[in-house]
Symmetry: C2
Subunit: 533 residues, 2 copies
Amino acid sequence: MPDRAPLRGLSIVAGQDATPVPEHAFRATAAARGAPTDTVFHSASARDVDAAARAAAQAFGVLRELAPERRATLLERSAERLESHSAPLIDVASEETGLAAPRIASELARTVFQLRLYAATLREGSWVEALIDHGDPARTPLPKPDLRAMLVPLGPVAVFGASNFPLAYSSAGGDTASALAAGCPVLVKGHPLHPGTGELAARAIAESVRELELPAGTLSFLHAGGGRARAVGEELVQHPAIRAAGFTGSQQGGMALARLAAARPEPIPFFGELGSVNPTFVLPAALARRGAAIAEALAASITNSAGQMCTRPGLVFVVAGEAERAFASALAAAAGRVAPQVQLSADHARSWSERVAAQRALPGVGELTGAPQPGPGSSARLLRTSFAVWRARPELGEECFGPSALLVVCDDAGQLEQAVEHLAGALAGALWSDAADAELARRLAPRLAARVGRLVHDGVTTGVEVASAMVHGGPLPSSTRPDSTAVGPRALRRWCRPVSFQNLPEALLPEELREANPRRIARLVDGRWQLPV
Amino acid sequence: MPDRAPLRGLSIVAGQDATPVPEHAFRATAAARGAPTDTVFHSASARDVDAAARAAAQAFGVLRELAPERRATLLERSAERLESHSAPLIDVASEETGLAAPRIASELARTVFQLRLYAATLREGSWVEALIDHGDPARTPLPKPDLRAMLVPLGPVAVFGASNFPLAYSSAGGDTASALAAGCPVLVKGHPLHPGTGELAARAIAESVRELELPAGTLSFLHAGGGRARAVGEELVQHPAIRAAGFTGSQQGGMALARLAAARPEPIPFFGELGSVNPTFVLPAALARRGAAIAEALAASITNSAGQMCTRPGLVFVVAGEAERAFASALAAAAGRVAPQVQLSADHARSWSERVAAQRALPGVGELTGAPQPGPGSSARLLRTSFAVWRARPELGEECFGPSALLVVCDDAGQLEQAVEHLAGALAGALWSDAADAELARRLAPRLAARVGRLVHDGVTTGVEVASAMVHGGPLPSSTRPDSTAVGPRALRRWCRPVSFQNLPEALLPEELREANPRRIARLVDGRWQLPV
């Protein structure tokens, strides 16, 4: 492809580079060096935000009537461009975030997989949830109308990318891909910790928009930094043309934006995927028989990507005893073998370190890990406390975003059962159990499921498979919309609403609802599923 | 049934009559007589609200693990009780609301139909949206997990019934029925305009709860009046045990409660079905060929139940000319033949009358109907204005809840197309078109669909069929959650969220997700629908 995108440090407003405003210039920091990177970025101005939102509203009028095939092609061309730009993308992302190149490369693979999965979802077509109830003009006392329903897109969507996933949950990540797939123009707020990555990924989509002659307002990318890191996002969420927002990030930042979205004259849905502690229960027989192996798996999960995963196990519940002590030692030993890792930013490292220190300072909280390893980066830390102390101190249920976890030691299985009733909502939870734990596991599983978006058995909570049955979401405070998932084909629904068509002639019906089923999609017809042959 | 429920004027808190608090006593008004009815009601106290919410939270622990069959039986037994109490129910409802007995009887039929439909939905079972993605342990670089997902209930639901549907959208109405079906305990806020109807219907459910030995907290009914008409609802929406709310009523009341729900420390979903103007477009050829018949249908729809339907056509768009003048005359004549009707309350009549008068007083607004008919009740009123005046005056797009409508006369078809772009969100919209209107209809239909929850062709917007493909909801301000429907089996989803189960052994999986499909439901397995044989 001849249009290899250079990094310009500029926002993309409906296909055009925004005019730089010198007073809003900013630099990114190379996480490992702690020093600025080369590019000078310029934050989007309020006028840029407004222009992008208006262009998106214009583009929506075209996009919503576009054949799904064209949107699928946009996703695929964007995936191809991301792949063809993989070398600079991986370089820039790795420099900005401090995440290792192989980790970024696998994240890029996941990002293009998502784009292609949604393209396939569009081509297959059944995602629109087509329903048909045939009418009955002879019904008494009133004729029964012919009713047909399907999902239609909401309009322009604002996307707030994550600090910890510069590709898979950012410019070209799941929110953008699913919104474009659904037929909604997207406005990405750039993340100040990885502006270069965000801009490069956005350019891959913007170039595909241009190549396919789609409306320029289909995608805009707005740098946010230089004194406007917050303002750009707040302006987006409050702009009248924006009809929904997707967010991946902290509980504090997400809840603040969610409240802005709800306080608008016309509130909009805000899909915030926030962090969580992802409670993990290791039942007694499993602990006794394979505590060491479980400890290895958990230590790897806790320290994966410097612990900066929203599904990192943050709370581990076990029953006191010899097996627990052996498990705790094994966990500490395994975590101790992990070399210190650079966090996403100095602020991340400081905030994590302060939170862990505050928990550690509470009476009744001890530490399993030894002195931190020398050199730069954060060493893993494991704290330990009793069920009673954990129950008494709500701050021990809060997320520490980094390579750490809290082992909560219960007196008996009864306390495990009590613990599950007092958990905050989480994205995921895990239950490790052996045959001899069966009865306890049967009691715990539905109650743990009631607190999480995803329940894992005999495995770690990190690792979010992109699949139809994935739920990446969960009760507050882990997400603002637990009725949705940010990952998998069902993520498209977030940007849609159903519309019902009553007694429409064939010519006025969307293709998906015409009697002959020209798009050959699965439909629920008069209460029975009809599948394409 | 021996337990024929008398009207006691008391709230039902988890199966028990609440203790009356004399200072919160109130009376209902017989709408037709404008005089108090016999029963003295007592509003629920703050303590009652709290006790009901706590009992609901307790009940939820049992309900969510109950076999769907038991919940289906609860709905069916409640339907039977409502039928066996139909005589007093119809008497009380008709007296309290002023709606004619036959209208109330048909509403009761619809209410029991809904309960039975949701029971059938539970027995069939596919509503839980079961998804299965089988794992692949051999996948590289990482094994693919086995993932299975389905909907689980949210918890206790607060239900705010409607003034205009004392049965179908109140104690035993769609919100209550769908929430109970989903496995959520329900707390009904009684409506002060039909407290007797609400209490009787609630007793039918509460008695069924008792008969079936379900937890008493499954249903509570809280009278709201006597100085506590607002407080009861506000306390409910803000109670920590309440996990969602359903509301049918005015835009003002609904938005106020929606903002309370969003401002909680832990916000909850608020499904508000508010009013709307339900724009209706009569295209030129249809107007010319069958304007008189369309006028008859519209006049009946506008005046149905004294115009107090949330789907009443409030705005009618036509193109100026001879056909339009004939249509306007026919519409006025048909509306003039409708006898004056009593509204739900003196407040309703006053508020409607003031709103119509305010619109009428605007320059450029005329009236099609003549002097009101003598005697009690409200006579239909039809106003007329031009497209230009309508565009210039936002207040002409607001709902007047009563037997009236505004005819908006456009200069040409181009103004019809402009009008559709400036419509507020509505529950429903209608398009009347003939063969000669085909091209214009094709341009208007998708744009009108983008503003409504349901698009009707060649028919009136009133009449909400209870069916799978019904969408009763729409963009703001017509509903607070346009991604949902308040009517039809999909209404159950509102009270649920999806949960994903990763690598769970069969014994720990919900029945709906076990490999052998013991509940014989439709499931999407590895991307393909599998239907029970």
